[in-house]
Symmetry: none
Subunit: 145 residues, 2 copies
Amino acid sequence: MSQTWSRSSSARWCPTPEQLMILEEMYRNGARTPNAGQIQQMTAHLSRFGRIEGKNVFYWFQNHKARERQRLRRRLIGRHYQLLYSAPPPPPPQEAEWMAMPEADDESSPPACHGSLRTLELFPTTSTGGGLKDESTPSSSCSAN
Amino acid sequence: MSQTWSRSSSARWCPTPEQLMILEEMYRNGARTPNAGQIQQMTAHLSRFGRIEGKNVFYWFQNHKARERQRLRRRLIGRHYQLLYSAPPPPPPQEAEWMAMPEADDESSPPACHGSLRTLELFPTTSTGGGLKDESTPSSSCSAN
DNA sequence: GCAAATTAATGATTTATTCAAG
DNA sequence: CTTGAATAAATCATTAATTTGC
């Protein structure tokens, strides 16, 4: 798409310092994925400092968020886990009854860190709810939704 | 409580990048609520990359599923509140109205900087409701950063 | 000091997910 | 099982920094 924007219109929006400042401020204040209404307002106000459209604001937040995350991720990947084993059986049951858990909470380990690898081998995990046999799993056959 | 998990050995399982990747891959492949047999297999394979127990796998799936759901739910409800006409051409090149997002927030958890916030004057919500207009300062000097 | 070449940032598009509805 | 809604991730493309040679 070599759009020969011979015209003067910049091919793409270029934020003015003021706009950028405001955007960053909003981001710092928690704005992460503004909705249509918010974007409209933001755009309306930002346009006082230069030409800007809603999509620019939308994209800006998308990119900013994604890249911020990306950077964190990269800096964080330097961390090697491998803390080794921790034998003591935590509060939960052993591997024989844990399946009995009716309701697992929803706050324990935030799967945060990601790694970088691109080769996984999965065995046919057919979750057809009948493929495998559950040996000891007593009651509660947690039926998937 | 009784156990004084000194430091080191994290009291709770901490997935290695490889394990996390494999788990996510399995999730993507459809595994949502693996049964005992499946969990055993998964655990067996995952243990090649670090210490892990069946309950860890079980909990991981429970939490992952629950969080995905929660996240989506949040988006949808946020949308429901002001989903009047929000058209969705954010990605598309066409410029019209763009999208509608849930609400501002984050889950990626930026390092910190949340605590005290500051009274950011997010523009007085004056022109609320339609005053969409962007145009002013045609050629803005692109110079930021 | 400047201009071409190279690299780094970052705006804009496309693609792949997710869960929920029908 | 298929489709709808809405991203976020991955990718493309263009602008700005910088590096280099003169």
